[in-house]
């Protein structure tokens, strides 16, 4: 993958670049603020941009604004928000324009490099990657009857789906067969009254819409 990094902390910017290089990814630019990010993306046309949310000048949501702007200019560009906090409002804004090719991960997820790079690859190829913490919060805001009818296993599967994982990834994670996951997914969709749709991406979208409840 060709990657642009926007992160105002120098140690994290360099650390992330090194980390990704170790897995053979090409970090074409690593910049400290949003204006340079827009320029770098325009110049290098990367597959994905990893963007810190709190950046200069005000250190509030500059990264989110830049991500939304980048997506408006180029819907094919993957953007992964990289933050120390989960702000559901920010997640919602990011997802408002669609869940394809977007992600939101907490910074400590770099602890598991396999997980981290696979999330990044998902985003780069038009998928979704949401931090488990984000999904927990979305679940939290939706304690309704539909969710209450799910078995613990089905809830687990739903959460992993919401994170943006494919059936086979979920199967691998839960150490069961693909066939078993497909059955769970079908049950979940029936119980929640969602129309089962083909394709991982549209499935994530309907799950997120449901969880977001608006």
């Amino acid at each position: 993958m060709r990657i642009v990094i926007a992160e105002d902390s120098a140690i994290l910017r360099e650390g992330l670049a090194q980390l990704l290089a170790m897995r053979g990814h090409e970090v074409v630019a690593a910049v400290p603020e949003p204006v340079a990010l827009l320029a770098a993306v325009a110049e290098h046309r990367p597959d994905v941009a990893v963007i810190d949310i709190r950046m200069p000048p005000s250190h509030t949501d500059e990264g989110l604004r830049a991500a939304i702007e980048l997506r408006q200019a180029d819907a094919k560009l993957g953007v992964l928000l990289f933050s120390q906090y989960v702000e559901t409002r920010f997640v919602r804004e990011l997802l408002a324009a669609g869940s394809s090719g977007v992600g939101y991960l907490l910074k400590e997820r770099v602890a598991d490099l396999d997980e981290f790079t696979s999330a990044l690859e998902r985003v780069a190829s038009g998928g979704t990657a949401l931090d488990p913490e984000v999904v927990t919060q979305l679940f939290g805001s939706r304690q309704d009857r539909g969710l209450a009818t799910l078995t613990p296993r089905e809830r687990e599967v739903l959460a992993l789906m919401a994170e943006g994982r494919t059936n086979s990834a979920i199967a691998k994670r839960l150490v069961v067969t693909d066939r078993a996951i497909e059955k769970h997914v079908a049950n979940i969709f029936t119980k929640l009254g969602l129309s089962a749709s083909d394709g991982d991406h549209r499935r994530v979208l309907s799950v997120l819409r449901y969880l977001d409840g608006r």
Binding site: I11, L12, G15, L19, V86, T88, R89, L106, D112, R142
Partner: protein, 440 residues
């Protein structure tokens, strides 16, 4: 030696005499005179105003007009007191601080009640009533010193010009002047009267000043209840400063943690991950375990730090109250609707208090109400921030309820003169309204 002492005594006497002789011609006695002459008529007007408005108010007390009339009259009397204070400052250099202006709360009944309880207004009324006889005394003092003295100085002129004469006395036509009805018909007698006049004029400034001491005593006693009011204003200022200072400090701590410790912990995690990568598969299981444990500790540390920081200063607050409340609502186990319409951003401390208040109220809703959903509304009314949390639960919440923390919350919003109202009939719904100033 004796000669020197004598000279010193003489020069001291001379200083006093010169002072006494010059005093009536200096500016100060004239301002003091002007003060007495100006104050008295205004006092008369003030007493009339108070007597008439209170009498009418009492007479109409059985109607809907009476009490509001009194509640309006009491604070408006402050004007007379202010006039007096300002003249005293301008003419006498007697500085008594002004009280904080009367600011009634919104709402008719609240205004009436505040007016009736306006202690500064009542003190002004008391002052006017007590100062009326005192001002009469003041006018009398001026009349017997300044006026009498000046008139006495004119007798020689009157005698010489033949005015103020009674030409026909004891059957004879004589050149005389009448001093208070007493006949003076010789130059020595007329000049003696003038000497008395001069003495009166020399004494006048000191007598008037003695009277003004009384006036000052009364004024300080009644119109400077204000000392307390000024102190309250000072305390309010320093409290606002303290509250804002704490909010700013907490925010700085959050930023420092974010840019410092938290960033370093993430960097540490990255380094451990890289170490894990570079070591490859050929290390001992023991080393691998140690590395995995180190990674877990680093990751957990970041999580714990994040949790701690959100209790110090939620980072989302930097992006505004609405954003922060949105995140808070999303974390709630029951669905919460957030509606915010704020034309301007409150100060940092107010946003922080509003945020933590809503956090506590939403916790209450989840723990105690049995509600299916809740609404958080954020509006502005009369320059104040109004926060309303509504739930469709079983109601019955009250201030005394154990574990609801409503009392503590009331105390907390009270630190910035905020108010909390609970409306929670049995069976619900529960509406809790918090009112905060937009600025501390």
């Amino acid at each position: 030696m004796g000669g020197v002492r004598k000279t010193a005594l003489m020069s001291q006497i001379w200083v006093v005499v010169r002072r006494v002789l010059r005093e009536p011609l200096s500016a100060r006695p004239l301002s003091e005179l002007a003060y007495v002459l100006l104050a008295a008529p205004v006092t008369v007007l003030g007493v009339l105003y108070v007597v008439v408005s209170l009498a009418v108010g009492v007479a109409l007390a059985v109607t809907a007009v009476g009490i509001p009339l009194i509640s309006w009259a009491v604070p408006s009397t402050r004007g007379f007191a202010a006039f007096r204070r300002h003249r005293a400052a301008g003419l006498l250099g007697r500085r008594i601080p002004d009280p904080a202006p009367f600011r009634p709360p919104p709402g008719f009944l609240a205004r009436v009640s505040a007016g009736l309880r306006d202690s500064i207004g009542w003190r002004a009324i008391g002052y006017l009533l007590l100062t009326l006889p005192l001002d009469a005394l003041g006018l009398y003092v001026v009349a017997v010193t300044w006026a009498r003295g000046l008139i006495a100085l004119t007798y020689p002129l009157q005698f010489a010009l033949g005015v103020n004469t009674s030409g026909f006395i004891n059957g004879q036509v004589r050149q005389v002047v009448l001093v208070n009805g007493t006949v003076a018909d010789t130059w020595p007698a007329v000049l003696l009267v003038s000497v008395v006049g001069v003495a009166l004029l020399l004494a006048a400034p000191w007598v008037v000043r003695a009277f003004l001491r009384l006036d000052g005593l009364l004024m300080r006693r009644l119109l400077d209840g204000v000392g307390a009011a000024a102190r309250i204003r000072d305390l309010e200022r320093s409290r606002a400063y303290a509250i804002e200072d704490v909010a700013a400090r907490l925010r700085r701590i959050e930023r420092d943690l974010h840019d410092g410790v938290q960033a370093r912990m993430v960097a540490l995690t990255m380094n451990l991950t890289m170490l894990n990568e570079t070591l490859g598969p050929d290390i001992s299981p023991q080393s691998r375990n140690l590395l995995t444990a180190a990674l877990d500790h680093a990751k957990d540390g970041i999580g714990e730090l994040r949790h701690m920081v959100s209790g110090i200063h939620p980072p989302a607050l930097d992006a505004g109250l609405e954003t922060a409340l949105g995140t808070l609502a999303a974390r709630s186990p029951i669905p919460v609707d957030v509606r915010a319409e704020l034309p301007e951003r409150p100060t940092e401390a107010i946003e922080t208090i509003a945020y933590f208040s809503v956090a506590e109220l939403l916790t209450n809703v989840t723990k105690h109400s049995g509600a299916d959903r809740a609404t958080v509304e954020l509006t502005e009314a009369d320059g104040r921030l109004v926060l309303r949390v509504t739930d469709d639960g079983r109601g019955g919440a009250d201030m005394e309820g154990a574990g609801t923390g409503l009392r503590g919350l009331t105390e907390r919003v009270g630190t910035v003169d905020g108010r909390l109202a609970v409306d929670s009939p049995a069976g619900g719904p529960t509406v809790i309204t918090i009112e905060l100033p937009l600025h501390t």
